[in-house]
């Protein structure tokens, strides 16, 4: 199979859906000729013209608002939010308007739009360009949240997001834009709410979202040398969350580590860990271990920044401990 970058996969997903459905358009800063700062939408304006690939002023709340109104009246906008950190600027339009319109209107209005944005630290971009804010939007009913972990998922999930009749926020990992993966030439979709079991095993389950899937895979490699049998799960969407696959794995292995690049405190690891602890309680051999990013604004200095994100070594070391029946935290 051919191998393409995550950035190409996203580009293909948008182009394919724009060809299929003339109500899809792309809107954001420097998405047209510049193809975004990450060069993700390159070529789209040539094919679809400036009417459907729309460069905006630096007005995130404004163009997010436009997308809500366009979606409510028949379009299917894809909104480009250049850095995940700028989500803070569109929260009202996203969470008070887009997320609630269908419910508040008793099902009469709906808002089929996609917010494409990113997450991930260690790019030396400091505290306002490095956040992973997916936990925030996952808390708001009415929004769906997708977290592609490779080019393959990026394409399949984005296509599903564009066809979804609800507002969807999709987070790409900035550091993965140039990473390649096998991606079929033929069209495919990845359904929401279906986790991927990337590796089966029976001693410990590693659950990794987005960027942290790779960290879990590296940890599994380390652990395989030590003959520890690891199961790896990528939830792929946080809302809806595939609780069943997660619980089944937890019941099988009895030991789970949840790894996510958002801040740990009040973050995604809390939701997943507490669901497992609540619903697979009698099957657990060890406490579910949470590994989120440190609860600090992301520091600029490389020596500090690298400390803030979970690493394969740390995941492996925690896995080793719980498999050996040792404690990770002092009790």
């Amino acid at each position: 199979m051919r191998s393409i970058t995550l950035s190409q996969a996203v580009n293909e997903a948008i182009a394919e859906e724009m060809r299929l459905d003339s109500s899809v358009f792309l809107i954001g800063e420097d998405v047209a000729e510049a193809g975004t700062p990450f060069k993700i939408t390159t070529g789209l304006v040539e094919e679809f013209g400036t009417e459907r690939v729309i460069d905006t002023p630096i007005s995130e709340p404004g163009f997010m608002g436009l997308a809500v109104g366009a979606a409510m009246t028949g379009s299917r906008p894809i909104v480009d939010i250049m850095f995940g950190d700028f989500l803070f600027l569109i929260m009202d339009q996203l969470c008070n308007q887009a997320a609630k319109a269908h419910y508040m209107s008793g099902g009469k209005l709906n808002v089929p739009l996609v917010v494409r944005t990113n997450l991930g630290a260690t790019r030396r971009s400091a505290a306002q360009h490095s956040q992973s804010l997916h936990a925030l939007v996952s808390h708001i009913p009415g929004l769906k949240v997708a977290m592609p972990s490779s080019a393959y998922e990026a394409k399949g999930l984005l296509k599903t997001a564009i066809r979804d009749d609800n507002p969807v926020v999709i987070f790409e990992d900035k550091l993965m834009y140039q990473d390649k993966a096998d991606v079929p030439e033929d069209e495919y979709l990845i359904p929401f709410g279906e986790a991927a079991v990337l590796q089966e095993g029976n001693q410990v389950t590693l659950i990794g979202t987005s960027s942290m899937r790779q960290v879990c895979e590296e940890a599994a490699l380390i652990l395989s040398d030590e003959k520890i049998s690891v199961e790896i799960i990528d939830p792929r969407t946080l809302v809806p969350l595939d609780e069943k696959t997660i619980l089944n794995s937890a019941k099988k292995t009895g030991r789970v580590i949840v790894v996510d690049e958002g801040h740990q405190n009040f973050g995604v690891t809390a939701e997943i860990a507490s669901r497992i602890s609540e619903k697979a309680f009698y099957y657990l051999d060890a406490p579910v271990i949470r590994m989120g990013a440190m609860d600090v604004p992301v520091p600029f200095s490389p020596v500090l920044e690298d400390l803030t994100v979970p690493t394969a070594e740390k995941v492996a070391s925690n896995a080793r401990k719980i498999v050996a029946g040792e404690l990770v935290h002092e009790l």
Partner: protein, 328 residues
């Protein structure tokens, strides 16, 4: 009072009826509050009827509007049924939003009303986006964005006006300047001039007497036609007044505005009275005929309220319906 703008007396009488319908609706809604039959609070449109009616009578059913927390007037003017509106205000299943939205979120998409909004300024993006969709799809509809004078303090307005101006979107920003933002005179919290703020973005802006339904309708008809031809966006400031408090519970308001001021508007600038007097003077209708219109509509509103009071609440299993739409 503007000159007669067409020879169609039906259209004048329609505007009269629509304004009376709004007033009757609000009188009943206020009474529901006073009788403790209304869940929560609501914001009365009484006094501002000419704004919604003058503009909405210039629109077709395909044209869109976005509304505000003070949204009953827009909803009626855009063609909604009183029964379903009262049902919504009382949280009943037959309401426009199956009781889930209430007064502050009432929407009637069948008539092009994209909904009231409880976030001040919250619908400015929605209206502009609806106009963007019209332009992209080559649809001929125009969108009117209603908002208050207080809402001009929201930065969102300037963001979306910039884009509307850049892209010549068919949207009309209708600023209902009733002089107050809650309990504060807007003069105290708005610097400079509101029309200049639109003009700074290259948007043609007009000020009009918000109590003169015919003047409003004439201006709106003209601007809507031009917006359809791609000459938009436009901005209108409508000088008007709310008779009630900020909401039904705002009873003691002398600390922010005088009784005399209220009386003056009610006595001398009532939009229904102004149009009524003109209809009589132009011999389009007699006082008696107008009285009959008012009585009929009051009766209709009464019936609608009674219906809504007896209507049933949504089934409890509706609570988690409509969070997400099923995609086929």
């Amino acid at each position: 009072m503007a000159k007669k703008i067409n020879t169609n007396s039906e259209s004048y009488l329609k505007m009269y009826s629509q304004m009376v319908k709004i007033r009757s609706f609000e009188d009943q809604a206020n009474q529901l509050y006073l009788d403790a039959k209304m869940p929560g609070l609501t914001h009365m449109y009484s006094g501002e009827e000419a704004v919604a009616v003058g503009i909405c009578e210039a629109l077709t059913v395909k044209d869109k509007i976005t509304s505000t927390h003070r949204g009953h007037g827009h909803c009626v003017a855009k063609g909604a049924e009183l029964k379903q509106m009262f049902c919504e205000l009382l949280g009943k299943e037959e309401g426009y939003c199956r009781g889930k939205g209430g007064s502050m979120h009432i929407a009637d998409q069948s008539n092009g009303n994209l909904g009231a909004n409880a976030i001040v300024g919250g619908s400015m993006g929605i209206a502009t986006g609806s106009a963007l969709r019209a332009k992209l799809n080559g649809d001929s509809d125009v969108t009117v964005c209603f908002f208050g004078d207080g809402a001009t303090a929201q930065g969102l307005l300037y963001e979306v006006m910039n884009m509307a101006a850049l892209w010549n979107l068919p949207v009309i920003y209708a600023c209902e300047n009733n002089g107050y933002s809650e309990y504060t005179a807007t003069d105290e919290i708005a610097a400079g001039d509101i029309l200049d703020r639109a003009r700074a973005f290259g948007i043609e802006a007009h000020k009009v007497d918000g109590q003169d339904v015919l003047a409003i309708n004439k201006l709106a008809t003209d601007l809507v036609a031009r917006a359809r031809k791609g000459e938009g966006p436009f901005f209108i400031e409508l000088i008007t007044y709310r008779y009630h408090g900020h909401h039904v519970g705002d009873i003691n308001r002398t600390y922010y505005r005088s009784k005399e001021e209220e009386e003056d508007w009610k006595k001398n600038k009532d939009p229904i009275k102004i149009l009524g007097d003109w209809l009589v003077s132009e011999k389009i209708a007699s006082d008696d005929e107008l009285q009959i219109i008012r009585d009929d509509i009051a009766a209709e509103a009464h019936v609608a309220v009674q219906y809504a009071l007896e209507a049933s609440y949504p089934n409890s299993n509706e609570v988690d319906m409509h969070v997400y739409m099923e995609t086929n």
